[in-house]
Symmetry: D2
Subunit: 147 residues, 4 copies
């Protein structure tokens, strides 16, 4: 049964990846997927760095939001964000490789809360993100074959 | 004096625009700038739309975050985000032209709070964003000439 | 029709006040009520002040949360909070009289967003609060007669 | 050294408790204290219950905020909240005994982030709270002797 949940999580992630051109364009890679959990990586490139020499908040948000999106779709039910917050704790610099780890905190009915942390390659915490999710109609894997 | 504040706001925005390749790449345009205020526009393109046929949360965040960034740098003091939150109220669809309006709510010492609303071209509210800002060292316009 | 909406708002507020022992105990008074809007007042008493000589965050939250609760129930549909955030901008001191003003930002289906600002008696902004509301079953005024 | 940190945490908590009439009035008890960590308990009393038969959001906030306050003062440096957010996941009912567990997520310079979860006595998650803290001047234990 646990194995089935893991297979479903992998199938859902596979379906998402096939259509996720935005993450691909940003060099975001999926490192690990489990039910309610995702770990993704993004290198800080020159085009992600702002005038203060540090990664745009929007880029950090997008990385965290991607990990959140993969994690909350691992049950194969189409799930979207209703709201998010992010706190920026340390700047990320050009060349840093960032890792976002999304962990489900709770799921009550169709509503979930996911926490995401972004660490740099020195294992320093760069940002903390919290996302609220809501399941809508449809399955992730069927949407794929239909697309 | 008010005129000076407006000139400074425009000079700062000009300096930011010259270096802002990320916004340019997303088709984000600055419509209006005033001290503590910015209005920006972004069309929802095919590469911004997710598998559910609606704009990525990360794209909405990036638009709001840009308007916030321009608004809070209008005093020509380099200002960065310490944290943000966003609530998604309505989906944005392919072809929508979104407008983000950032308004300063308060500035206490070096700390500011800015509210940003994103509306679609039917004047429907798509998202509400709140950003906390902190002034750091340096001026926006000098950073430009130095760069 | 606008008059009817105002009468409904007043009836709902009246029903809430009759049962609101918590606000009464804190000295919170309702100053103004309109559809989607409430203004409330609270004096900072000795038992609300923390060891740093300033009002407890919890007291400021409770004032803002009350104004939010009255504002979002003005349509006479029982409405509860799904989440809130507050930013503390200036300390409130013993003897200050605080005013919380709650204004509806949007209502999409059963989901609303309300912004509340707390000002002190020098018209300085003390805190900014944002509340998300959701309408559930029942009416506010009928619940009253039933209780 | 670890022992010293634990002693300091206990001394700071002791100093806070001696002055904390607000928590006492609400029946909030400290169950456990460690550096960057606090666990507190509160029974849901009749005067904490709203018209919908469930605990006021303000009461849940106050419990979470207290645990946050004790946890972030365990280094004996006076620390205050700069902002907080809370998501309400399940209602708490009259007679429930709630436990709030506050855990430090990070401390960068004088700025900290703490997560607090509130569980009911069936170990169900009732609310998730996130608090941002900032250290100001003074020590907690000296403030005590001075008071």
């Amino acid at each position: 049964m646990e194995q089935d949940a893991q297979r479903l999580a992998e199938a859902a992630a596979h379906a998402l990846l096939a259509r996720d051109h935005a993450s691909e364009a940003l060099g975001i890679k999926l490192l690990e997927i489990r039910p309610g959990y995702a770990r993704m990586q993004m290198p800080v490139r020159r085009d992600m760095v702002n005038i203060h020499g540090t990664a745009h908040g929007g880029m950090l948000f997008t990385l965290a939001d991607s990990a959140f999106g993969y994690a909350c779709n691992t049950y194969d039910k189409v799930t979207v964000a209703s709201g998010c917050s992010i706190d920026f704790l340390r700047p990320a610099h050009l060349g840093d490789v960032l890792t976002a780890t999304a962990v489900e905190q709770t799921m009550v009915g169709r509503n979930g809360v996911y926490d995401v942390r972004i660490d740099n390659d020195k294992d320093e915490l760069v940002a903390l993100f919290r996302g609220k999710s809501i399941q809508i109609k449809g399955t992730v894997t069927e949407a794929e074959s239909g697309g």
